[in-house]
Amino acid sequence: MAKISDGKQKTDAQLVALTLKNQEYYYHLMKRYESSLTSYIYRLSGMKRTDIQDILQEVFILVYQNLNDYDENFKFSSWIYRIARNYTISMLRKNPKYVQNISWDEHDLEQLIQSDFNLEESFIQKIGYEDLLQIINLLPLKYREVIILKFIEEKDYQEISDILKKPIGTVGTLINRARKILSKEIDRHREGEKYD
């Protein structure tokens, strides 16, 4: 197997070109995305670790099989995230047993609060992380996934557009709607607590 240090200085596109000549180089590409894709699939689906490992392995194989379809005009990260996203969602649809309650770690939630998502910290402190997470879990997938990509994965609009295969304008609309729905849900949650 090629040494890991061989791949560290290479760009994604260079590693793709090298992988097409020598399969061993693919290890470096996978290693580069292993951790971020594991978190992404988890945030998206809430699957168990073992399920995520199975999914990730299939995603890596799919990416490898389709490597000749990769277009260097796009970011490789957007492309691999797109394949991971599509495969994860298709698995969720085929096997609803996978679906669990997502429990992001506090770091994710802090990142969300500190991002430009415009959730006031004081506002969140009143409802707490647990409740915020519960509210996020209740969001429809199309809103949850843009929140994950924009505020947790910190992807820009163009990358999100390429991952979701939606126009940039639609991505912007989804983010704004997600913001509104989340704020409304938080308000409702707080109102509910008042009456409890």
Binding site: Y27, N66, P167
Partner: protein, 243 residues
Amino acid sequence: MIDISKATLEKMKRENIHPRPRLYFLTKNLFFWLMFSLATILGGISFGMIMFITGDLDWDIYHYLGISVSKAVLISLPYLWITFMLFFLFITCYNFIHTRTGYRHHFIMIFFISLLVSAILGLVFYQYGWTETIDRQLRSRIPGYHHLIYGREKQWMQPARGLLSGNITVIDRENSILFLKDYSNKEWQVDISQTRVKGMFPITNNLKIKILGQQLSEYTFKAVEIRVGRGSSQKRGRRTGQP
């Protein structure tokens, strides 16, 4: 903890997994572009056919029939070709969205641009008379096609509503009567004693004419106005064979 990357690489080697060839993806992409082009052309033809069929109708006769403009439009729209056009537009949009960067554009924008392209192509087909040729071919080759289209033939074959058309077979000038064979080969006796003739043309045997008037009995008709069946001199120089 499992090294997923390492395990995946081993699995790929074990199962002899390789990347699909570049040609596979090129062919796939080419297929979408081909389907896109084909659907655009067919959309253009459909648009041209809509222009031809609606442009071919006599829109001034509806007030004789006491029909409002909106009702006239509803009766006359070529729904078959409108359905084809919408279908091909959908195929065009679908194929464009499935090209490499097609998803970056809004569906509505793609739809309207495709509609515009179809309209331009349709206009070209119409102007060059290709839509007329297609219409003629469809009428002669596809049985029942003319029943599906509200064309000029159908428009002028409503004797109960005062519209009749066909070929003159005999002219009896003494009794101001002419005999006419309609498009279902039925012989009509037409009273032309109080008739005005629209346009400057002599009434002769075998002339294709359209008559506005009143049905008197099963095969007798009283003509109020006679028009010549639109001939080669009146529209784009190619039209033949129809009222």
